[in-house]
Amino acid sequence: MLSLFRFIAKHIAYLYFLLYCGISILLMQLQRKETLDAIRQRGLAMNASVAEQLSNFTGLFTLRQDNEQLLLQNARLFSQVMRQKQELSDAKAMQAASSEAPAWARQFKLARIVDRRFSATDNMVVIDAGSRQGVTTDMTVLTPDGLVGRVIEVSENYAKILPVINKNFMVSVVSDSTRTLGLLSWQNGDERIAHMEHVPVSSPLKVGEQITTSDYSTFAIRGVPVGRVVRISKDKLFCNIDIRLAVDFSSLSYVLVSPAKPSREKIEIMNGDTGRKGQ
């Protein structure tokens, strides 16, 4: 017995080592047991809590840098959102413009308005379709609602449009039910109201009639809606007629360009006879 105690005393460190190793290995084996798992989980919770506090504290030192990064990130995200919103609204508008167009308008070229000047004296529209897209001068520009204007200048990728609401614009029109002919023009003032000229006082034209382009136009195909008669007042020889335009120029963003043009031969013979410019 004494020798056993001596042996133990001599090798106590080894015994400790074996005991601790045994306990450690046992703990490793019992790692998944409920009690040990609960201790482990508590330890991890405490660990996470302390780490969070430390992280909060150290975060104070990097606050300025973090803020700058966040601002930068915000700006990046904001610009992305803006761009995506714009693309979405462009796509919607384009889809609406093509789906609302009547069947005969499907062959038209769709163009986006990229610039416009709607001042009291100089109203001009620029679209993003030019000679490359097959646009040429004197083509009719319209929307599914009605006539917008006429192409007067073309570059490779852009075209300038003389809109209906320009004092230099004129187009030959006809009413739908009484077939009254006249010349549509616009003077400075209300952008929704144009005037129909050269209609004699004897004309049977009534308020509410729809006005469309006539066969006599030198650039527009016939039948394009222009507007509706809203007021008729009689003068000595001719009537003063106000036409409410079909197109709302204030919210115009997409247009259709008609590739169809009246016969060149007809235009030449009309110009030769009268010497008048295109209407």
Binding site: F17, I23, I25, Q29, I39, G43, V50, A51
Partner: protein, 152 residues
């Protein structure tokens, strides 16, 4: 010891280079082993491992590693009655710490693989780099605190 575990766990273990970090606890256990003795060093190692494991979630392995570190460093124990010079004590301290670290890191690398690294990556990174980093920390500790305690 609890303070040391907290410092190790929340500060020093974040100094990671190639998956390895310095081990302040191993240096401390080695110091206890050479200055007090193998039995005490082993017990300290086991206790430190248990506390450390409580935070890391791997109680058994941490306790085993601590025990092995304390026990192995205990072979280089310098008894007070040996009247060893401080140069010898210093040499023993470095040898004990290096041995404890090598064995402890080897055990960790073999039994613990949280990053699923292959063994040929784990072994050199944890054993070699971990030991070098810990020894740099051990040298600093020695210069700052431990040499005064050993001389006493």
């Amino acid at each position: 010891m609890v303070m040391l575990v907290l410092v190790q766990h929340f500060f020093i273990s974040r100094l990671v280079i190639l998956h390895a970090s310095p081990d302040l606890l191993a240096v401390f256990i080695a110091f206890i082993s050479i200055s007090i003795g193998q039995k005490t060093g082993t017990t300290y190692g086991f206790a430190a491992g248990l506390i450390s494991g409580f935070f890391t979630g791997n109680i058994g392995l941490s306790a085993l590693v601590g025990t092995v570190e304390g026990f192995s460093a205990g072979y280089f124990h310098v008894p007070d009655e040996s009247h060893a010079t401080w140069v010898k004590k210093r040499r023993m301290y470095y040898i004990a710490a290096t041995t404890a670290l090598l064995l402890g890191n080897l055990l960790q690398a073999l039994l613990n693989d949280p990053l699923s690294l292959p063994l040929y990556v784990r072994l050199p990174e944890m054993v070699v780099i971990g030991t070098i980093m810990s020894m740099i920390l051990g040298a600093l500790m020695y210069k700052l605190v431990l040499n005064k305690l050993l001389k006493d």
